[in-house]
Amino acid sequence: MIQFIRFLFVKMKLAQRFVCPLARLRERVGVRETNMAGFTIKSGIFAIFVNIALLFMASAGARDLHDGVQLHGFASQGVALSSQNQFNGSTQGSAGMDMRELGLNLSWQAAPDWLVSGQLVSRWAGATDNGTVRVDYAFVDHSLIDNGQRHLGMQLGKVKNPYGFFNMTRDVAHTRAGIMLPQSIYQDQIRDFFLAAPGIALHGSEERGDNLLSWQVSMLHPQVSSQNLTAYIVDRQQGHFNARTSMLAQTLWEHDGGKWRVGLSLGQFDIHYQPAPSDFFGTGSFTGAGNVTLNTGVLSVEHNREDWSYTAEYASTRQLRSGFNVPFAPILDKDTTIEAYYLQTLWRFAPRWQALARYDAIYLDKQDRNGMTFAAATTLPASQRYARDWTMGLRYEPSSKWSLFAEIHHVNGGAWLSKLDNPPAGLSSNWDMLLLQAAWHF
């Protein structure tokens, strides 16, 4: 395992220096010194991060560090091969290795009603993520009521956003059914925005007989600094978003120890775009600062049996846009409804083995599913407005700590591909992909 982590660390350095196109670009435009200084600081953080992990991994069972203190972590490395379009560093005819996740978390149950926890995550994914170490979450959780059947508590700090079944732990391979989460609902290009945010959350649960009802309501300040969010909402521009206080709520009902799970997540996110002078071909073309409100909801259903699990989620996101006022791109001020859903089945066909089959679909405008109206209005490819993904996968667990995954995707459309990796003009509408991944956790 230690060799595996060292291998990842070496890959990280290579990725930073040679693979990351943004770093290369910055060097080309003459900010080499700044970039190198940044790189040195980042390397130092990586070294500390990896060394802490190695230190604790060296002794088996070290995750219970002290009474009430636990340390856990995870690491994964993937390989992507795609027939067309780029995904996590893959190019036509060559594999992409730019697909890596590292995380380390510490939690301290200071008293039965006080929990302090935090996690650092570092992730590589093509042009969309470059391995920067981030605080994934860091909060204090206090229980106000806990009598066995009823629980009420609150969290303060950078808290995880409950959205669908998988958002809270989306970077941890062992918690996912396959290598990729269904991209229709869990789009990686806006993950930073949806993942976690500084704020306050109230959470509770009520247990009656075979039924467990839990809920969480968060008031948060969304993370909007990612260039992926900008590319997603207004294409590749130089301006930036500001966030306003937003709300997210989830309720989850579990029956008979989780044999049935049904969830509803509802959120309202308000963000405000501040254009840069260079946006949209120069000063004057962009006359207004835009406002975007995302009203989103996900309905989630899962049925678990001994050998089979069936999962379905349906999301609808109403995108209200105003104030952009770009004369040649009225589409920026067009309200649309994004529709996304998937159906998935998992089959545990032998001990340690699991097979996955999934159909996943997203339409960025449910009134224009084939993207033709969009294409006519913008001359951009219609295929960037939808994606239908058939996935078949296999998972083998050599031990409880390791998982090996393989999956194939047959995709029609490119709605969830990052525009940073795939400029719309070069998008292929039909493409296939093979992904392999090794993951470890403790």
Partner: protein, 115 residues
């Protein structure tokens, strides 16, 4: 099931047992913190404990622990390698609960049954 001699509870319902092993119930009546010990998932006793006592599948329990641990909202139980270690750790840890196949009269734990 076995518990530390200081734990006064004698009988638990299936739902209470699920709540304890699901790491949702963190204290015993009276306020002593619950300390949960489990065997590895591959251990045959863990699988039969999940099925017979909790009426859930081992993979569900593992997923629920992973959801707590990697979202920061809770902690995982302590894993022990063997039944001997389980007996020793439960006997020596106040508030501890675990499970073994058989308890001998000289083991310093008390048994808890599921109704």
């Amino acid at each position: 099931m076995i518990a530390h001699p200081g734990v006064t509870v004698q009988i638990l319902t299936v739902n209470e047992t699920r709540s304890i092993f699901g790491m949702r119930q963190l204290t015993w009546p009276g306020g002593v913190p619950v300390r949960v010990f489990v065997l590895p998932e591959q251990h045959s006793l863990h699988a039969s404990f999940c099925r017979e006592m909790l009426n859930i599948y081992p993979y569900q329990l593992r997923l629920s622990w992973n959801r707590l641990v990697y979202s920061g909202t809770g902690q995982a139980p302590t894993e022990v390698a063997t039944e001997q270690e389980m007996l020793a750790r439960v006997a020596s840890t106040p508030g501890a609960i675990g499970y073994v196949n058989k308890v001998n009269s000289n083991d310093s734990v008390h048994t808890v049954s599921v109704r």
